[in-house]
Point group: C2
Chain length 164, copies 2
DNA sequence: TCCTAATTGCGATTTTATCTCAAATGCATA
DNA sequence: TATGCATTTGAGATAAAATCGCAATTAGGA
């Protein structure tokens, strides 16, 4: 039965899940990734759980959450618009941008004049009234780069200072 | 001096809280805003509650949450990196950007080739390894613009200061 | 100062995310 | 193809974050 697994056009990035020993590709993880790829919006973990549970009855909610975390660290999946478990706030002042660490979720302000006058969203955003914008750079902060024990690639992160 | 905020006394945007009847400026709201302005990071609602409770013992957690919501809608405060109460995910594909409605938190993808080759964060981001970036346009979606025409409670909705 | 609408505080409730640990599974190796 | 072992899964409890309803209080215009 696994011989026809590729029939579904192997979801991009799946192979990245197993760079070496340590990140097994389970049916649950595959199902979560396929469920995510099948949507065109930005589903929450719970929405994905609903989707996956339809194909894999009995799957645990925790498994979906864990699968997403693993895949985020492997770079296969990305968090959209998120900063840890809680919403964060700021007072809008002069234009600034954000550096976001994909490993520890830290958000740091960045002032970069070269980015302060970008073109607008264009006609594709008809009906959307733009009030402001900012650029988000996703990457790995210096601290995480250090605490990550020489990763074989750019994946396989470790949770060392994940708390709050 | 008035063009740019940074003062502890007159917190920028506070006057925007009372565009007309309907958004009273309470001591609690002022305290929340001042607590937020006093920080240089991006605190959570709970962190702000801790800060405010030091000056206003007895203030309710719910009040802090509500004050933040009101101020977000008034444009005095902004949510950083947030999409409703839950984290959202996506499979990273070709470069795209996001339109984010500050009223309903909807996130819509936007493809805009003019934004696909922006300059990097520069030297200010020393030590930060950039993996990807995207532009977030904050504003009001068409749906919310319609339903906010003559709001029963929040009158004018917000003041525009786009070129800030 | 008076009056009215809006806000506050409190506690309960909902939503979202994480944890523990025995049992099951993936996968490298032979 | 079978075997061994580290890793993952499932289930429910638990923690964390956010919201809700209502009576008492307060802000702000007249």
């Amino acid at each position: 039965m696994k011989s026809h697994a590729g029939r579904r056009a192997a979801v991009a990035g799946l192979e990245g899940l197993c760079p070496r020993r340590g990140l097994p590709l389970t049916v649950q993880r595959r199902a979560v990734l396929e469920a995510l790829a099948a949507r065109r919006d930005h589903p929450t973990a719970d929405q994905l759980y609903e989707d996956v549970a339809r194909r894999l009855p009995g799957i645990s909610r925790a498994t979906v959450y864990r699968a997403l975390e693993v895949m985020v660290r492997a770079g296969v999946v990305r968090k959209v618009w998120y900063a840890g478990a809680a919403t964060r706030f700021e007072v809008p002042e002069r234009r600034h941008h954000h550096l976001v660490c994909v490993l520890c979720d830290a958000v740091v302000d960045l002032h970069q004049p070269a980015l302060d006058r970008l073109p607008g969203p264009g006609r594709a955003a008809r009906g959307f009234r733009v009030l402001d914008y900012s650029v988000q750079f996703m990457g790995v902060c210096a601290q995480c780069a250090r605490s990550t024990k020489t990763p074989p690639r750019q994946s396989s992160g470790r949770q060392s200072h994940e708390g709050k």
